[in-house]
Each structure stands twice: as C-alpha cells, then as structure tokens.
Symmetry: C2
Subunit: 313 residues, 2 copies
C-alpha cells in the first residue's frame, strides 16, 4: 500500500492563453481576466493570467517565427539572447525567467496553458509525466466535476514520446495543457470557451481544496500515451493526395480496427488501416499539424496508479 | 408572359480554387484537377482549373497583402503595374488579363470560384446580380440536383450592397461563387470537399445541357439580399467583449426575431436582438471577418422572377 505524497501548497499559479496566437478561447478568456481577475480568486490562491505570445495574438497566427510551444528546450533556455534569435526563442527565455526558471525553487507552482484544436477532442488534458502526481489528481478532479457525454475529459501523457521538455508548462513546478475542441483557428465558439472556462475554474477549486488540507485518495487513471505520428498519403512531389476519411473525422480517442477507413484519396479510393492491432487516433485533422506532416497522432491506452496526495503542513 | 432569353454557348469555363489561400476544399480539388482534369470534361465544354493566389496557398493564409477577392475594382484593373503594388493588386490584373478582360467580348464565358467558410452555410451560391440569368438558372439547377436536408443550397445576391464589382467572378461574362461550410481555415474535411465537388460537377452538367440546346423554363427563385454587416460589441479600446451566442452559432439563414440572443458577453450577460423585424444572419462567426469587424451579415429574403433561357443557335 503506497503512502501519501505531500506537496507544498500552490501559491503562484499562472494561466496562459495565446501560446498559439490563433487559438481563440484562451485568448478571449485571458484578455477578459486581465481586465477583471475576480473569477480567478480563491481563498488560498489567485491565478495570474497572461498572454504568452502577444505578437502572434495580434496577427492571429500560430507563431511569428517558430512554434513557441516547441521552444522551451534546454538548449534555448540555457543560451543568452542574440540578435539573430527567432521571436519565440527570445520569448521562451522571457517566460522562463518570469514563471521559472524551470527546475528551480523559484519556479511558479502551477502553470495552466490554454489551447484549442480543430479536432473533436472534447476537453483533453495534457500531462508531461505520471510523476507529476498533483497534475494527475487535478485531472482526476476535472474528470469527476466537468465531464459529460458531450465533452469527455481525457488525459494524454506525452512523456513516452517527447523525452526532452519543449513546452511552456514545463517552466512551472507542475502544469497541464488544456486542449479544447473542436474550434477553428481564428474563431471563438461560445460553447468551447464556456467549457474551457469551467475547466479553469474547476482547477482553481481543486487547488484551493488542496491548499486547505483536503486529502485526495489514491486511484487508478486511464490515460493515453503518444505512440507515433501518422502523415497524409503523398505523391512523389510530396503533395498530399488524400484527406481524412469522413468515417474517421471527429472520432478522436475512439478505437480504429484493422480494415477501418483512414483516408479518402482525391481519386476516390479509400485507404484502410492495415495494422494488426487497435489504435486510438487523436488530433485528427488538426489545422496546425498540416505543416508538421501529421494527419493524426496514434495513442495507446495506459493505466497509471496514482498515490494519495495532501498538502505539506 | 416573358419571352425566352438566349445566350451564347458556354465554351471557356474556369474553376478557381485558392482565391483565399487557406480555404482548403477548393485548393485540394483544383490541385487534383490540374493533375487529372478528366472529371471536368463534358461533351460540349471542358472547365479549366486554376489556383487564383498560389503564394497565399503556399503560405496557407487568406492573402499576402490584401484580400484578392476585394481587389477586382475598376481602379485597380484600369491601372498599370507599379513597383509598389500589393501582391494581390498585381495578381488581380493578371487574372483579369487571362480570364477577362472584364466586360470585353474576350472575357471567358463562366467563372466558378470555390470558397469555404467557417460558418454553417451549407452549400451557398453567391450571385452578383439577378440580371445574370444564366447563373440564376445554374443555381436553380444546383438546388434541384444537389440539395438535401443536411446541405441546403441557398443563393445570396450581393448586388444590393456592393454596387461596384470587386470579386474574381466579375472577370467572366457569368460567374458564381460557391461558399461551402462549415470548414475551419487550413483544414480540408472530406464531407465538405465532396459536397463542393458535386456542385462543380453538377454545374458542368448544366452547362453541357444548355450548350446542347435544352430550354430551361422560367421560374421564381428565393434569394437572400445583403442588408448590412453587424459588428461584435466592443469596449472603448475597440476590443471585442462578446462572442456569438451559442443559440445563434450555426443558425445561418434561419430567422432571428426580436428578443432572440445574439451575443454572449465575457462577463456572462446576453445581448438580445432589439430590432423590430425578423432578420436572417449569414456568415455567422466567419474567421476571416474578425479583422473586418463583422460578426455576421444580415440578409433579407427576396424573390426574383427569372425568364426562360436557351442557347443562341
């Protein structure tokens, strides 16, 4: 029987929107909270909202020079600014200085990073590693409070695939990304914004309960591990020759079995899944992944045992 | 009783994709047809596919310097190239030279321009003027052949609002725009692409029948006229303070009555429609219209009497 993990109280909490400048729900919420932060106050904790990439937000593009959420590498954070730095390289260092430095005692206690996806991923929680017990408990709390049939809360564990930290949430001591969809780039949809808002509020409720001394018991959690990225079928010139099949579209996290359709070729042919075992695709038809040559990301189902947790007195 | 209008046969027909470089269904279709144009052949007519703004397509943005589909003004087309021209200004002149010149005997017979919208507009046909009888008949044919409950074919008549021609289709003797949605920018969805493909094929079938001498009888057509653009509620700094209400989202072309909700403020308040008469919104929450300060476009229902038409012998 595992013992209870103790963790320092959560005092400095940041909520980032606009890490990708065309993912609008987080941008609208953060802008609103910067004008009126009342909603982010709890008895023991207040979250600080910030726009992570204001120039990209201003232009309503994902990024200016390179993807900010792939720019928190050791190499970038350890280097000093130079005149030739990409906008996001310099900016990642600034965010790390303000909310980190990563791995230091000064790092903020928790970072929530708000994202939207064009995929039908409901309310997806991104966690870096199962060893972040606090984020696992927070996710479990969100699943118990915010989930409904129209918007399941699933957890993606990225550690298996990305060994080196690259994303904004790794700057804090703990962190989750929220991927809420489907929502087009450059568009804010009321239902998606409201769902994201509920998730953030629920997260702060959890942190407040935790800080007040509530003990959260051990549990087992299903999460999806990242297996591999799957590209679109292409011709010799590298141009995509197919689109996501209508029977796969919007079916994120659902099982795909051998023989199920994956793609529709422009010439009318269907491309079927010819693997041997069931897969679970996610980020199906995500707009931002076209340039990354990713049609969807294959996941595997995993189960994690999470120990009980309470605040360190 | 009105007499039958006669019109020259349709020989030179162009199909444009990528007039906006992030509206993907038309881009994928045109790229495919440029590789294999077989699908565009009919007995009496073959359509020529072309990418209208290849640089914008390459970058997956709506435009490089300015909106190409607002660049076919008299002033631009009548001027000569200069070094300071915006990319789309120069490009509009080139397209006008190739498929026009507008208003001349050399202008191509028909231009179909393929667009996507993030709004739930089904298969919308854009016509410049009810005096383009051929386009009215084509639209009527598309309504009879391609419409179903999941994808109604409605006609928007832009003449009432935009008196001076500015759009690509005005280069030809006749032309329609197809707005198929909802589809996010930078994403191609199989069902939307397939619907657009059917509309183009059906259009060519109509042209072939027309060229062969079929007489199309007179009819009355309902179409939507453009009344005015409606902006998002903004604060003193000009920042939007509200999003499209979830009860208005996806309700393009449906009646909105006094008291119906239009917007959801970030502070939770609802903004209701306070006009006196029923309106019909369209382009609700179109991504490309955020920068144009347009939340939706108000339409009015109109009825047009269209005379019979047949080919000139």
């Amino acid at each position: 029987m595992s013992s209870t993990v103790v963790n320092s109280p959560l005092r400095r909490v940041a909520v980032a929107g606009g890490t990708h400048g065309n993912e609008m729900s987080g941008i609208y919420l953060v802008r609103h909270w910067m004008q009126d932060p009342t909603e982010l106050h709890r008895g023991t904790v207040t979250a600080s909202p910030f726009l992570a990439n204001p120039r990209a937000v201003e232009k309503c593009v994902r990024y200016i020079d390179q993807d900010l959420n792939r720019s928190f590498t050791e190499e970038i954070l350890a280097s000093t600014d130079s005149d030739h730095d990409a906008h996001e390289v310099r900016h990642a260092r600034q965010i790390n200085q303000q909310y980190g430095p990563r791995g230091s005692v000064n790092a903020w206690d928790f970072v929530i990073d708000l994202h939207n996806t064009t995929a039908n991923m409901g309310s997806t929680i991104i966690i870096m590693t199962p060893e972040d017990h606090l984020s696992m408990h927070l996710s479990h709390y969100l699943q118990s409070r915010c989930e409904d049939s129209s918007s399941p809360c699933r957890v993606i564990m990225v550690k298996e695939m990305i060994r080196d930290p690259i994303s904004l949430i790794t700057v804090g001591k703990h962190g989750i990304g929220l991927e809420v969809g489907p929502q087009p780039q450059g568009v804010v949809k009321a239902d998606i914004l409201t769902r994201m808002r509920t998730l953030v509020n629920c997260s702060l409720d959890f942190m407040d309960l935790f800080n007040q001394g509530a003990e959260f018991p051990a549990f087992e959690m299903e999460a999806f591990g990242v297996l591999e990225r799957v590209d679109y079928p292409r011709n010799a010139a590298g141009e995509p020759q197919a689109v996501i099949h209508s029977k796969l579209q919007d079916k994120d996290f659902l099982p795909v079995n051998p023989g199920d359709p994956l793609f529709l070729m422009l010439n009318g042919e269907e491309i079927l899944y010819d693997g041997e075992s069931t897969i679970y695709p996610s980020f199906i038809n995500e707009a931002a992944y076209y340039e990354k040559n990713v049609a969807f990301i294959k996941l595997q189902r995993l189960v994690f045992s999470v120990p009980a947790i309470r605040v360190k007195n």
